[in-house]
């Protein structure tokens, strides 16, 4: 492949083209290409076993691809070795801790492994411990950390050498809600500082709030924009279900009632529709109810709101049933392995 073809666009910090990797008969990654822009956050989304972790291992330079190559700021990770690895921060999905080392020692050891001078290492450790809120546990052996605390230490460890590219493999796993929000903040701050971030996660709603772009991985094949369905579900909450049904029938709008568990609603998280819904009847409940309607886009949505309000329907909430990522994900042929 001509080097020119890989020459990164001005801001591309990491470029990978047509990577593939098999483990014996298992084709973990078949054809994955990815390009991470400096200063942006990219999501890596795909079902279990679709090859996300394997792809990240190839990006970090730990695993040799069967074909294709990875360049970080113009350095080939396969041949540049340490020089390329110096630019990458990686947080694996599963990792251990050095049981008898304290959190601070873990960070300082890794700073040393990246050849930071001891004084700088100390300072980085202190800063990062504060960033991930482990100051209280700084001198506790990492053995005693809880799962979420270990995860936070792992994040700090991945950032200790101020990398230009940060690859996070399911960083939110095991984090409490506040830590998730803080993680989002940390990731956004990194991007603000010009770092290219790739985050793999199954928490799509959460991911959506921090990413600028998304790469989908499906049976080892990557795609930037999976085809989204022409019609997308929107969720309508109304005070009077029967009245809404009557209105929708009059204007010829197809609706599905949620909580009935039929059709598209079956894919919906039950918690999402546990509104103040009273007893429901297939013919139309008299009390508050939630419905799904299929619309072609935001234009039609605005039209619907205007018409419904004008017709006196008591709308309480209205919005897309799923986030953009969720929608795209559900549009994929989501085969788990």
């Amino acid at each position: 492949m001509a080097a020119a073809a890989l020459a990164p666009a001005d801001s591309a910090a990491l470029v990978a083209e047509h990577l593939s990797r098999s483990f014996g008969p298992v084709r973990a990654v078949v054809d994955a290409s990815i390009s991470l822009e400096a200063g942006s956050v990219t999501a890596l989304v795909g079902p279990n076993g679709s090859g996300k972790t394997t792809l990240l291992l190839m990006l970090t330079g730990l695993l040799a691809p069967d074909a294709g190559r990875v360049e970080v700021r113009g350095l080939d990770v396969a041949t540049s070795g340490a020089a390329a690895r110096r630019l990458i921060g990686w947080m694996p999905d599963v990792f251990g801790t050095w049981e008898t080392l304290t959190c601070r020692e873990v960070l300082e050891t890794f700073a040393a492994a990246y050849r930071l001078p001891p004084a700088v290492a100390k300072e980085r450790a202190t800063t990062l411990l504060a960033t991930v809120h482990l100051v209280d546990l700084a001198d506790a052996p990492s053995r005693v950390l809880s799962r979420g605390q270990k995860q936070r230490l792992g994040l700090a460890r991945a950032l200790v050498h101020s990398p230009a590219v940060v690859l996070l493999d399911e960083p939110a796993a095991g984090l409490d809600p506040r830590s998730r929000i803080e993680l989002r903040g940390i990731v956004r701050d990194l991007a603000e500082a010009g770092v290219a971030v790739l985050v793999s996660s199954h928490e799509l709603a959460e991911l959506e709030e921090m990413v600028d772009a998304a790469v989908f991985l499906q049976r080892g094949v990557s795609s930037f924009a999976p085809p989204t369905a022409a019609l997308q579900p929107w969720r309508v909450h109304v005070l009077d279900g029967a009245a809404f049904l009557a209105w929708s029938a009059a204007v010829g709008l197809g609706v599905t009632q949620e909580a009935g568990g039929a059709g598209a609603a079956s894919a919906v998280d039950p918690a999402a529709c546990a509104g103040p819904a009273g007893p429901t009847h297939p013919t139309g409940p008299a009390g508050p109810a939630t419905f799904l309607v299929s619309l072609t886009g935001e234009l039609q949505a605005a039209q619907l709101v205007r018409d419904a309000v004008t017709a006196g329907v008591a709308l309480t909430r209205f919005g897309p049933a799923y986030g953009r990522l969720e929608q795209a994900y559900l549009a994929m042929d989501t085969d788990r392995r």
């Binding site: 291992l57 730990l62 695993l63 990770v77 690895r85 599963v94 008898t100 080392l101 050891t109 050849r115």
Partner: protein, 341 residues
């Protein structure tokens, strides 16, 4: 490889594996065991000493020799536990990949881990030094020989650590590599002796030899004659003995005087090797008239260490190279069923 990288890895290893009370307990236990053995030997030989056929000096040599062999034996048992799980154990614990992804090179990791394991083995050796020195002082053994023996012992332990490291980098499961390392240690420690012993059966040949003996029927004086003898050509397999770590250390320690006459265990081992090296002799001295002996003087032979130290060094260097190779990233092949992360 860089000094910085090696140091970082070694310090991490020491903190991670060795900073635990278990280790202090193990060191104390080692000290006590070696101490008890040394005391037992000292008590035994001084008891013999009363009967005045074992001088104070000889008693010291027995003490030194026994303690040296015991420390080598215990060192061979301890060393594999330090290194034989250090790569695949880290991989299983999920702490290896995050190190490989740093700027540390594979050789940094391999050498750092080796130094840490060897350092721990040396700590055990150090706890037994007082007893070695005790024996050496009593036995008036020259400091050069004491230092040479201890250095050889330390070198053997380094090689064992390197072999364990290579196996732990090559075998998927920590239990598997630990077991294999013990098999290797048993192979060189005991297997070489067994192989040498068994080989003797296959090296027997009936040959005509020159015998210098008393001509009983004739002149009554000693004269040369020919006779058919079944000879065992151990000289062909004596090199096997050189691979034995006990023989190697004893050989260095007993230099320059291996001898069958005396009680120094190291000298006895050295003499045994010399006889094996000499093997079958074409000329046999059976004349007791001249000197009253049957030629039991130890054959000259040659020291084994010039042969075994290069072999050990090659094994150690090869193991280190293999370990570094298996730690190389990007990894092309993985052990079956092993995930990097």
């Amino acid at each position: 490889m860089s000094a910085w990288g090696v140091r970082t890895v070694a310090v991490l290893e020491v903190r991670q594996r060795i900073r635990s009370t278990r280790w202090k307990v193990a060191l104390i236990a080692f000290f006590v065991v070696v101490g008890l053995i040394a005391w037992g030997v000292a008590a035994a030989v001084s008891g013999v000493g009363d009967s005045e056929w074992l001088s104070r000096q000889d008693a010291g040599r027995v003490l030194f020799g026994v303690v040296l062999m015991v420390v080598l034996f215990l060192g061979l048992l301890v060393s594999p536990t330090l290194s034989a799980t250090s790569v695949n154990g880290d991989r299983a614990a999920g702490t290896l990949a995050v190190l490989q992804v740093t700027t540390l090179t594979p050789l940094d990791l391999a050498v750092g881990k080796l130094l840490a394991a060897w350092g721990a083995a040396l700590a055990f050796l150090a706890t037994s030094l007082p007893f070695l020195v005790w024996g050496a002082v009593l036995g008036r053994i020259s400091p050069v020989r004491v230092v040479a023996s201890v250095l050889t012992l330390a070198f053997v332990l380094a090689v064992v650590c390197a072999v364990g490291l290579a196996l732990s980098a090559s075998v998927a499961r920590p239990a598997g590599s630990a077991l294999l390392t013990y098999v290797v240690v048993a192979g060189v420690g005991v297997g070489t002796l067994i192989a040498f012993g068994l080989s003797a059966f296959f090296l027997q040949r009936t040959e005509v030899v020159q015998v210098y003996g008393v001509d009983v029927g004739g002149s009554g004086a000693c004269s040369w004659s020919e006779r058919e003898e079944t000879q065992t050509h151990t000289e062909d397999t004596a090199w096997l003995l050189g691979l034995n770590p006990f023989v190697l250390v004893a050989d260095v320690a007993a230099a320059p005087a291996p001898s069958l006459n005396g009680s120094d265990p190291l000298a006895l081992m050295g003499a045994g090797v010399r006889f094996a090296q000499a093997g079958a002799r074409d000329e046999i001295d059976e004349c007791w008239l001249d000197d009253g002996g049957f030629g039991t003087s130890t054959p000259a032979g040659s020291a084994v260490w010039p042969w075994s130290i290069p072999v050990y060094a090659a094994a150690g260097a090869g193991s280190l190279w293999l370990a570094a190779r298996r730690l190389r990233v990007p990894a092309t092949t993985l052990p079956r069923g092993i995930r990097i992360a």
